[in-house]
């Protein structure tokens, strides 16, 4: 029953987020600040994870190809497919649920605890539009971060492949060009847009509707991370079934 109540409340929050918009000059500065907080400040960790995960995928694939009949360019092919289809959009989004999600929940939750949200409401400001909408808009740039992740993942794979002696540069490049289907990139970006919306709204929901004090802010952040991850994994399955199944 509580889950149903929360799901209903979540959708009401989404609807409320678009009502009574904040003045554009104020909203613009909020969006720019959130782009900085949520996207620009995440680029480092996205780049780091993508590069090394790309490298690990390459090493794992190469080590598991022990049949001499399988061409070595398959290492590049497998890395490209894994990075574009899953690791960059989904794996990175789970990491972001921890980084960006807990930041959103704790910042909104702290505003709730310290009556800053009440202050906005008393002034007649739609606090959901003021707090959640700019984060949602900012995270619509998340696919650009994921595109960088895809590039660096494949680059990391190439580095691991060459420096580890698992494949030659020519083989790797042949691999990443083999049977390239542009729809896979489209599919990955569709997923990423959906995940971006989830990353903005689910943690906001847990921060906005939290009750209690500082301890509860911490608990809300943990709950937000768990549910954001669960929703991302479920939607990943559904979207993959719909687009590729």
């Amino acid at each position: 029953m509580k889950y149903l109540h929360n799901i209903g409340l979540y959708f009401l929050m989404i609807a409320e987020m678009f009502k009574k918009p904040t003045k554009w000059p104020v909203m613009r500065s909020l969006i720019l600040k959130d782009i900085d907080d949520l996207i620009i400040n995440s680029l480092g960790i996205i780049a780091f994870i993508s590069f090394f995960v790309g490298g690990v995928v390459t090493i794992q694939t190469a080590l598991n190809i022990d049949n001499p009949l399988i061409p070595r360019y398959l290492v590049g092919f497998a890395t490209r497919q894994s990075v574009i289809l899953e690791f960059a959009p989904t794996f990175t989004s789970i990491i972001m649920a921890g980084k960006v999600g807990s930041f959103i929940t704790s910042s909104i939750g702290t505003m709730r605890v310290t009556e800053q949200i009440d202050a906005l409401e008393v002034m007649g400001i739609n606090s959901l539009n003021y707090l959640v909408f700019p984060k949602t808009v900012a995270l619509m740039l998340y696919p650009f971060a994921i595109a960088i992740g895809m590039f660096l993942g494949i680059l990391g794979g190439m580095a691991a492949s060459i420096f580890g002696g698992y494949s030659t540069l020519t083989d790797y490049i042949t691999g990443i060009q083999t049977d390239f289907d542009t729809f896979h990139v489209t599919y990955a970006f569709i997923k990423t847009f959906v995940f971006a919306f989830i990353l903005a709204t689910v943690p906001s929901f847990y921060g906005y509707y939290m009750k209690g004090g500082a301890l509860e802010v911490g608990k809300a952040s943990t709950t937000a991370f768990v549910w954001t991850s669960v929703v991302i994994i479920l939607l990943n399955y559904i979207i993959t079934g719909m687009l590729l199944g």
Partner: protein
């Protein structure tokens, strides 16, 4: 003037406000007092429109809040200033940005006009040099004064304060009390203060509403509170020996 008639508010099966009626006049500091759990905060939040209520009405200068459209409510809220118990300053903004925030949201002032107005009100609350500080760098008393500056920057008609003296030392508490009273008088606004502080009651309570178990148990002023024989008021207000003695001296002098 704010006119409250027969206000009822419940949470589930628990009735918190059981039919409160009172008026808060312009240019006066109106205090709501009562023990913890008496319904003060719920009453204040109903006045602010943060809580809906089941029965009764609240009228702001004749405009009944519950019958206003969303746009009218928004316009009315732009005329309300609020000082929260914990100040509720926005952490991510400097003190000047906090003060300018209502102007940014509700006026078409240019940046320089907003800065001038923020300057003026920060000087009014005796914080002429705090513009670029973050709220976390300010003391409790300073934060309260910034909250007052933010509340009055847009020339509100109504000022609400929730426990403005909580957590402050007695000297700073008096400064805050006097500031609120001066501002109320100067701008001729309706000020409603939710307070536990008996010093505030005695100093600035031009009108006092005493709540007990969700009911208005007594209504008067800092002049009449000494003379009342209402037991629930005397039990609460004169619970300390100091205030008992003050009251005794007052009654002896005016016998």
């Amino acid at each position: 003037m704010i006119e409250v008639k027969n206000l009822h508010k419940s949470f589930g099966n628990t009735e918190i406000l059981k039919g409160i009626s009172t008026t808060f006049e312009k240019g006066k500091t109106n205090l709501i007092i009562g023990q913890s759990g008496s319904g003060k905060t719920v009453f204040l939040k109903c006045l602010l429109g943060l809580f809906s209520y089941e029965e009764g009405s609240i009228a702001y200068d004749g405009k009944i809040f519950s019958s206003l459209t969303e746009d009218q409510k928004r316009d009315l809220r732009a005329e309300i200033g609020m000082v929260f118990q914990g100040s509720a300053l926005f952490d991510s903004m400097t003190i000047a940005q906090n003060v300018m925030f209502p102007l940014q949201m509700f006026t078409k002032m240019s940046k320089s006009e907003m800065e001038d107005r923020a300057d003026l009100v920060l000087k009014r609350v005796n914080l002429p040099d705090a513009h670029n500080k973050m709220p976390s760098e300010a003391s409790g008393g300073m934060q309260k004064r910034v909250a007052i500056a933010r509340a009055i920057v847009n020339n509100p008609k109504y000022l609400f304060c929730d426990e403005p003296n909580s957590g402050l030392d007695p000297k700073t508490a008096i400064v805050i009390d006097n500031l609120i009273q001066e501002i109320t008088d100067e701008y001729q606004i309706v000020t409603v203060i939710n307070s536990h502080d008996m010093n505030s009651v005695m100093e600035i309570g031009e009108k006092i509403v005493f709540l007990r178990n969700g009911l208005k148990a007594w209504e008067g002023s800092n002049k009449t509170i000494f003379k009342t024989d209402n037991e629930s008021v005397t039990d609460f207000v004169y619970s300390s020996n100091l205030f008992k003695k003050v009251r005794q001296m007052y009654l002896e002098e005016n016998a």
